[in-house]
Symmetry: C2
Subunit: 584 residues, 2 copies
């Protein structure tokens, strides 16, 4: 496996030149930060990702996790890497000051997240969920719970988990039936079975804090009767130290396609002591604080895997000599030309590159709006943009991750299918990202069925405005006009969805999301390419300009196919019934 | 894993009603056969695939193959299933009469191949390569070699392999340097290393016959200096029985993403005794006899995996209750509706169905032309159609296999990622099919760079004529006109490729192939749907009509995206150079 290199030059270009980070930090009042500091922290994060985490990735996949005597063991080196991560303060990067966090801007944290995902997706998952747990607790937990638990979750002395899914209740949480019985001491006895719990147990820390959805005895049916509980693996003593084992256990760990070094646990709660987080019956809203964050983070997993695959494929394409290029001999001193010069291989690499870098721009734009929202919760436009872009980031960036990692295998030919090269692991690992935190189909329904239509299309308008900002900064008149036309066309097609029936909306969802993503990525490409012409780095200027041209010529046309599909309505989708699916 | 059911009703419809098998057998002189006999043999094949081979699939993936003391062991039950296959005569289904074969029409064998692939891709591979070996030997080997080896290869007492790839020579066979030194007895001493040898060793038979590409001492450079040799694992004694170990060994077996129950061997030849097959320096032509057959067979692997995945996803979607359907409550007596009623799930299932059944029609049309070619080698139109469709079948049906098996995972949600359900295995297993027997990129270059342009587009014309035959039989005037328009549009766009530069052709290849495949599948759908209206089975009539409408509304638009891409030329693909791929 070619070693991973952090794409620092791209981060620097995007943050300094494209997002204009210095101006942004001034505007949002993050005056402790500037682009120099950002680059410095990101470079340190790059060092950790490449030197500490990436080398564990291949062996971790082979070793997997083990469950013995109720305890989960992660692969060799994983726990030590985590302890180094914590010791260096990385776990605290997003946590609030008051609990020992560094409260870094998202525009600094997101590149670090991407790199951790590229380096070792399995390893990253547990720290990601801890960050989500911190977010949810900051927003919803009582002062008492915050004081008892947040310091150690922020530092990473303890990790967090999300417990939503039950065997019969995945997408439809209304069906969940884990119970919470009130106890005399104000706590609750939690009883039920949860599945697919990432980091449900491990050998990294001496406590794990589970965030568990359950029903109170008097709960209304459906999703309006779900509450959120904090359930520690070990109950704390009076000094706040882990002391007594709680009534919970790991039933089993899953054997999966990928992310084998991440323990995916079946958790059994047998009257475990839990504490209510937020108001009774408001658990879903509380969980959604975690979930929206987690959804964007899952999108970053697609991006991280895509970048790693592109790097591997590019390195191989430069080294592997086979045949002569049809446009003429390229390396006369060699027995054959590097396959990089084969137009079809270059097509695959540029498909990887244009999608990966386009999604990186999307992720950093999203991060910029997260900075805005965090520093000014009253910024409704920022909140709207984030709401609208969350399902796009989650679904598109993970669909893209699958395509790009599959292309990475293809560039390697038969060698891509062999485990030792690591290319197939990237594809297996990233496949989960299309499924968890809400399948990509659910994301698409969220986008078209909720985000698009809510408040008469206000989120669409805010997102349109955010991208118009980018378009107006494009100096090249021809590119500006193409970007504007693309954006207007997207808005017009989006507006046509507003009058659709519920069934048409549902049938259109995935294609509408893909149509939107390819459109918006097009705008991002015109914007980046134009901006790059004024960058100092000539390779960046040429690279972005040419990759934009590639995206326009070879990728953007996918919009048309998705538009035709989503405009076709539900009739052809719902017509087939019963035995017509599989006549005998 | 839901158990596999052979799609017998679809085979029957396609063979009897759509392909009009009785008339076809009369026309090509296969008068020993009729549609009743075909259905009977296919039903027996279905029984073998479902009862004997399919149950071994999941455990085989977990167990994998082992190499110990130079010998390969396959998973439990695999060897016994093979012996049953041989005992029941299945291995001989395509072999010629004179060597004990049954010489079944391809229109009977291809459905059986599809079912074996659905049931257990790993298990099927070795028998597939034996069939290819028989083909190549029938065409190119001397009488003496045929008499000594063909009886037992046809019966399956021995198996065959293809040895092309070397570590530094995959796509570019010109680079291969395995040597063949002439010996006094007329044999050759073969020395070199071959990789990716499927079935290079196993515990099924007491001999294995390797077909090995190597260079004679006086060989011209490049692909014109390659010869084909037959190299048995055990040399035969005077009675023709395996006796003396040949100087060859298994260096290692590969650890792969999937098809883990199929041994993929590194083969070392250390002066092994081999026999020339065909003329000196004509090895590549001889190997292409195997390869064209193998390429179509690999396409069938995509189809087989797709069918298995569709069946699994459909069964799950019918059982899994989550949420209510947006078009209204469907199962009021249940706590929720089956996810089958969710438009987005139906969209995924119908994407699977329309692609799978479309490719099945393509494979049987191909089989019909194989019958024609075999019974009348002078039928140039049949030869043209097969030449043209081979890369399309190989590449499109395997790309399709990946998409469909990934959708199968998606329908299962998180459960699709768990190994015990078997859905992820289908995706891992089928991923190889895009790589071996020439990557799909190589198939696309073969199509656009050789097949399309050779003899002024004659193969295109023959293929156009073959599909026009289908269009003229469409009785519904509206559908006939749409099918004709689609076909004419495809031909016109294809003709535009004829004047392209070599670089433009190479840059266009994959998108041109996909454009062609979606176009031709559209014609097949109009043809099938129309024909089904006159079938006795009402469920088929409705199913084909509605699935055609789905394909037209939701899939066919992909053509536009691929056309835009392949017409864009090579400029945007070749513009990016050197450090512009990964500026620092």
């Amino acid at each position: 496996m070619p070693s991973y290199h952090a794409p620092l030059a791209d981060f620097q270009f995007l943050l300094r030149d494209w997002l204009k980070l210095d101006k942004h930090y001034q505007e949002v009042g993050l005056t402790d930060f500037d682009v120099e500091l950002a680059n410095e922290i990101i470079a340190q994060g790059a060092k950790f990702a490449t030197d500490v985490v990436a080398p564990l990735n291949r062996d971790g996949d082979e070793a997997g996790c083990q469950l013995q005597d109720g305890k989960v063991t992660t692969p060799k080196g994983f726990a030590a890497a985590y302890q180094e991560y914590v010791a260096n303060g990385w776990n605290a990067m997003l946590g609030p000051d008051e609990f020992g966090g560094q409260a870094l801007p998202y525009t600094i944290a997101v590149p670090i997240h991407e790199m951790l995902n590229s380096a070792n997706l399995s390893w990253r998952l547990t720290t990601m969920l801890t960050e989500s747990t911190v977010l949810a607790m900051c927003k919803h937990a009582s002062d008492d719970l915050q004081q008892k638990y947040l310091h150690k979750l922020v530092s990473g002395e303890w990790t967090g988990t999300m417990n939503l899914t039950e065997p019969h209740a995945g997408t439809d949480l209304a069906l969940l039936n884990t119970k919470a019985e009130p106890q005399q001491d104000g706590s609750y006895a939690i009883t039920g079975n949860k599945i697919f719990i990432t980091g449900g147990d491990h050998d990294w820390t001496d406590n794990i804090i589970h965030m568990v959805l359950a029903r109170l005895p008097d709960a209304p049916k459906g999703v309006k009767g779900i509450s959120l509980f904090l359930v520690p693996k070990l109950l704390l003593d009076d000094e706040g130290n882990p002391a007594t084992p709680n009534a919970l256990s790991v039933g089993s760990i899953e054997h999966k396609m990928g992310i084998k070094a991440s323990p995916t646990c079946v958790m059994n709660y047998d009257g475990a002591k839990g504490y209510l987080v937020g108001e009774p019956h408001q658990g879903l809203a509380c969980m959604f604080t975690m979930m929206n964050d987690a959804r964007f983070q899952v999108g970053l997993q697609g991006l991280g895997a895509a970048e790693a695959s592109y790097q591997g494929a590019l390195a191989y394409a430069r080294e592997r000599l086979q045949s002569r290029a049809p446009q003429g001999v390229q390396q006369p001193g060699q027995k054959a030309d590097a396959i990089l010069f084969q137009p079809d291989v270059a097509r695959m690499l540029l498909t990887q590159k244009s999608l990966t870098e386009g999604c990186r721009a999307l992720s950093l734009l999203y991060a910029k709006y997260m900075d805005k929202e965090r520093t000014n919760p009253a910024d409704q436009q920022a909140a709207d943009v984030l709401q609208f872009l969350t399902p796009i980031c989650k679904a598109f960036m993970t669909d893209m991750g699958l395509e790009v990692t599959s292309l990475g295998i293809q560039v390697f030919g038969g060698h891509g299918y062999i485990r030792e090269w690591g290319m197939e692991q990237l594809m297996r690992d990233v496949r989960i990202a299309m499924l968890y935190e809400g399948t990509n189909g659910i994301q698409a329904l969220d986008l078209i069925g909720r985000k698009l239509t809510r408040d008469g299309g206000k989120m669409l308008q805010s997102t349109y405005a955010a991208f118009t900002d980018l378009v107006t900064q494009i100096e090249d008149a021809e590119h500006q006009s193409r970007a504007q036309a693309l954006l207007d066309d997207w808005r017009a097609s989006s507006a046509e969805c507003l009058g659709m029936s519920a069934a048409d909306v549902a049938a259109a969802a995935c294609d509408y999301l893909a149509f939107s993503a390819y459109s918006l990525l097009g705008v991002l490409w015109y914007s980046m390419a134009d901006c790059a012409q004024r960058a100092d780095n000539k390779a960046i200027a040429e690279s972005k300009r040419k990759t934009c041209a590639f995206y326009e010529a070879r990728i953007l046309g996918r919009r048309d196919a998705h538009r035709l599909a989503f405009k076709a309505g539900a009739d052809s989708v719902l017509a087939v019934k019963g035995a017509e699916f599989d006549y005998q």
